[in-house]
């Protein structure tokens, strides 16, 4: 008898994990979930646009809103002009000209990045107020007394513009310098052979080529202006952020605060659109792949002095003077802060920042890897959306976190009390969880950008190679990607860590009761006119803030295409020119 065999090909046993991970969907779903959770605060804020306006809102609209808008616009305008006037010329000077101290200036000009605006603001206030060293010296020199002379008031809108400009110009400087360095030498050489001198080359070639980068740097600076709370609060200037705080705490109207936040957000999104638009136009950047050292214009005489002065002043006022003043205060108040309380404060802050950094980098890794595994349109959008938080001011995120978390806590609490007679109290709001969540929303973009750039440098064939050698996708991540990206991951951790360290408004709103960080302590003491005592916390923030600045300056130095090539092939490239003359001499 012949039975027909049902030819069922033997199915290989499949382990659950690798098979699952290899299947499309899992990564995509993860990315979408993360993106949705992280956009919750922004969605909450925008949802409040549709909440019927209450009394407080109409009151705000009639009285304060105009002032908020006007002040915010004036600040944007003033700081915008300021950062351009400082940032672009110094970038050109250190990239293309040669003058004494240029090599030091090219990294020193980034130092103000380490200085949070609110810290520089109250440092100058302390220095310039009536009892401060500047006015005291002035009185001693002139013999004038109180009320007998006019002195500019630093705690004003103009003062805030100056303060913000001094710490934000590095954004423009950084990005503009990067493009000046990337600009192909050919373009500049062509410009010179066509008879353009240094000034003409700058205005006719270099600047138009750098325009997208200038705009990108400007947008970053302006986003910081919109996000700033510490400076304007300390100077008592009514803007959106201070208005949100006032509505939230003073008027106790969350809905109106959220509506104010929504208006602020629309300003931010306008800036994002400006930035996107400028990036779209950045395509004409790399016209030639030939790079070499730019032939620098050597400046002499008064021109060299002017260049030194132009580079020195921003560093002096943006970093050196305030840093020295802080150090003097810190030294004078050493008894005040050399104690376990301060150690606890440092520990709290570092612990919080480290936690946030680890979470943000881990999530960034998941998102970036999802995009690599299943880089479809939807995953791409999800990853993009998850990174939008960086543009959103901390105040707005804090409100957006607080509202749903408080709602959840209250709902759960009343439910539990009704049904079980137990009070659950605050589970989410007012805990470190809420604070960490806000940090991750705000700073995920920092880690995401770094991790994506690192992952992007690893060719897809690496993944294929690992898999063809018997390693499943998760193993590929741990055995190939992570080791290759070690440096990138450390950078990402550091960047998020420092950003969290400096963060003020979200921490002020969301911190658990009696939980302090360095930033909060510095701000509160300064607000109580105890400037000297606040200096230790401020100085700690500035010192840690220097780390990414150093890192950044090293990265830029290496980022110039020609530079990197030479360095990597250093051995062979150097061996050749030496070997050839030696050979000819022998013959």
């Amino acid at each position: 008898m012949i039975t027909e065999a049902t030819s069922q090909p033997a199915q290989a046993p499949r382990r659950w994990l690798p098979g699952r991970l290899a299947r499309p969907g899992i990564w995509q779903i993860t990315a979408i979930t993360v993106a949705l959770v992280l956009t919750l605060p922004v969605l909450v804020i925008f949802a409040h646009v549709f909440v019927p306006a209450g009394e407080v809102w109409s009151h705000l609209r009639e009285t304060m809103l105009g002032e908020y808008v006007a002040n915010s616009l004036l600040l944007l305008f003033g700081v915008g002009v300021g950062v351009l006037v400082i940032g672009v010329p110094v970038a050109w000077l250190v990239s293309v000209c040669e003058f004494p101290g240029r090599r030091i200036f090219q990294w020193a000009l980034m130092l103000p990045l380490a200085m949070p605006a609110y810290i520089i603001a109250y440092t100058y206030t302390g220095m310039l107020d009536f009892a401060g060293p500047v006015q005291s010296l002035f009185r001693d020199l002139t013999g004038l007394g109180f009320g007998e002379y006019w002195f500019p008031e630093i705690r004003s809108l103009t003062g805030a513009m100056l303060m913000l400009t001094l710490v934000l110009y590095p954004y423009v400087y950084l990005l503009t310098r990067a493009t000046f360095l990337e600009q192909s030498v050919c373009v500049l050489e062509v410009s010179r052979t066509l008879g353009s001198g240094p000034y003409a080359s700058f205005f006719r070639v270099a600047l138009p080529l750098a325009r997208p980068a200038v705009i990108a740097g400007l947008t970053l600076a302006l986003m910081e202006v919109l996000a700033d709370y510490g400076t304007v609060a300390y100077f008592g200037i009514p803007t959106f952020t201070t208005g949100i705080f006032r509505t939230w705490y003073g008027l106790a109207d969350p809905a109106a605060a959220a509506q104010l936040a929504a208006v602020l957000l629309s300003f931010v999104f306008a800036l994002i659109l400006l930035e996107r638009w400028s990036r779209m136009r950045a395509r004409f950047h790399h016209t030639s792949s030939r790079y070499s050292n730019l032939p620098r214009y050597r400046l002499r005489g008064w021109k060299a002095s002017a260049a030194v002065a132009a580079c020195l002043l921003p560093v002096l006022f943006g970093f050196l003077i305030p840093a020295v003043q802080l150090s003097i205060w810190a030294a004078r108040t050493i008894d005040h802060w050399m104690n376990p309380d301060f150690a606890q404060l440092v520990f709290n802050t570092f612990y919080l920042a480290a936690m946030a950094a680890v979470i943000a980098v881990a999530l960034a890794l998941v998102l970036a890897y999802a995009r690599r595994m299943q880089g479809g349109l939807i995953t791409g959008i999800a990853v993009r959306v998850a990174g939008l938080g960086y543009a959103v001011p901390g105040t707005v995120i804090a409100i957006g976190v607080m509202l749903p978390f408080a709602w959840f806590d209250n709902t759960l609490d009343s439910f539990m009390r009704d049904r079980l007679g137990v009070s659950t109290g605050l589970l989410l709001s007012g805990t470190l969880f809420a604070l960490l969540f806000a940090y991750v929303v705000r700073f995920l973009a920092v880690s995401l950008q770094t991790v994506e750039a690192g992952l992007g440098k690893i060719k897809p064939s690496m993944d294929d190679a690992a898999r063809s050698l018997g390693v499943h996708p998760l193993g590929t991540l741990t055995r190939v990607h992570l080791p290759i990206m070690r440096g990138t991951l450390l950078t990402a951790l550091l960047l998020v860590f420092v950003d969290v360290l400096k963060e003020l408004p979200a921490t002020l709103i969301l911190r658990p009761f009696d939980f302090n960080t360095l930033a909060v302590r510095a701000f509160e003491l300064a607000g109580d006119e105890r400037l000297a005592e606040s200096s230790s916390a401020a100085l700690a923030i500035v010192l840690v803030g220097l780390l990414p600045v150093i890192l950044l300056s090293l990265t830029i130095e290496r980022s110039r295409p020609g530079q990197r090539m030479r360095r990597r092939n250093g051995d062979s490239a150097q061996a050749e020119p030496i070997a050839v003359p030696a050979g000819t001499r022998g013959a």
Binding site: P9, Q11, A12, M462, A465, R467, S468, G470
Partner: protein, 364 residues
């Protein structure tokens, strides 16, 4: 060279059975069927965009199949709805950009796929492979410090380390100097032979394919034109595409005048013809440059030199016959004619290759 050569039976037999591959609903490769016996070396040859890399990735398991089945040693590894993941296939792959792991040294790269072996076995295998590829002593070097050719051989050794049943090579020579390519292809072939592994190469370069493979699949626009030896691809092309893509030549119109004889602008060409070409049928004849000889003494066909290309040992002439037909002709370089010279030709056909008129891509 002492290589622990393996029983060739452990090498894989590759069978593609009516395979369609594509992305997102779009089929890139259509109805491919071919069999590569164990221990042999095959090649997927075709112009860029013909789907050869896609097909290779399907064999590796990076892409699923939409139709048909892929079998390795009789085991079904790909069919619609099921794709055995690449890490479970015992298939090695050498990539176009080599894809060496930059964070590992040479020994670490080669040992990557055999991490579960005992330490002694692993070290021995690494040493053995380094000897095989002629890079002993480079264990501690890092990939970025090696030349392109060295990186390529490390990539090969890494892929061979776990003793894959099948080794896939995706244009592995395309980043090399042109002069080196065929040499390296021959070298790699010798290494594969020594390892007793079945191999499958993807390339768009026919010289590479000829130097490397026992059997070559010519792919045209996602379809298999011919799966044959290099000799047969040249002398017995299955269709016009193969005739055109492999080697040089021209296709000229003709008409069957009697059994096994075709009347063309070159005169009557004799050779065995299929029965379906009855006298009077219009058809096209493939004329290879070596089917024609320049012979001013005995030649009966007149032609004019249109252009010529010096190729070292010989010239490749482009000639125009009296009726305007253009043909190619190879002649030794000591006969040096100049453009617009009139020459005489003699037929030198060893066999006749014809295609039905109007047939552009299908099999004979």
């Amino acid at each position: 060279m002492t290589v622990t050569s393996r029983n060739p039976a452990a090498a894989a037999e590759v069978v593609l059975d009516d395979v369609d591959v594509g992305y997102a609903g779009q089929r890139v490769v259509h109805a491919i069927s071919l069999e590569l016996p164990r221990g042999q070396i095959g090649c997927l040859l075709g112009p860029s965009g013909c789907g050869k890399t896609t097909l290779l990735r399907a064999i590796a398991g990076f892409e699923g199949v939409m139709r048909g089945e892929i079998r390795l040693n009789g085991e079904s590894v790909s069919r619609p709805g099921f794709t055995l993941p690449p890490e479970k296939r015992s298939v090695g792959m050498v990539f176009q950009d080599f894809a060496l792991f930059p964070h590992l040294d040479v020994a670490g790269n080669i040992a990557f796929g055999i991490r579960r072996w005992g330490r002694g076995d692993r070290d021995r295998r690494v040493r053995e492979l380094l000897r095989l590829i002629g890079l002993s002593g480079y264990e501690r070097a890092y990939p970025h410090a090696l030349s392109g050719g060295q990186q390529q051989r490390i990539a090969l050794a890494r892929a061979l380390a776990p003793r894959p049943e099948l080794l896939l090579l995706d244009e592995p020579f395309s980043n090399m100097d042109v002069e080196l390519r065929t040499d390296i292809a021959r070298e790699v072939r010798a290494i594969l032979r020594a390892e007793g592994t079945t191999g499958m190469l993807v390339t768009h370069d026919q010289n590479e394919a000829f130097a490397f493979a026992d059997r070559i699949a010519v792919l045209n626009n996602g379809r298999l034109s011919q799966w044959d030896s290099a000799y047969h691809l040249y002398h017995r092309p299955a269709d016009r595409f193969v005739a055109d893509f492999v080697g040089e030549g021209t296709i000229i119109p003709g008409k069957v005048c009697e059994n096994d004889c075709v009347e063309t602008a070159l005169g009557r060409i004799r050779g065995p013809l299929s029965d379906r070409f009855v006298p009077g049928t219009a058809l096209d004849v493939l004329v290879r440059p070596d089917d024609i000889a320049l012979d001013n003494e005995h030649g009966e066909i007149e032609a004019e030199v249109l252009s010529k290309a010096f190729r070292g040992a010989d010239f490749l002439y482009t000639l125009r016959l009296r009726d305007g037909t253009e043909i190619l002709c190879v002649a030794p370089s000591h006969d040096n004619f100049v453009v617009s010279d009139h020459v005489r030709l003699r037929l030198n056909f060893s066999h006749l290759v014809v295609f039905p008129r109007g047939d552009s891509g299908t099999r004979r």
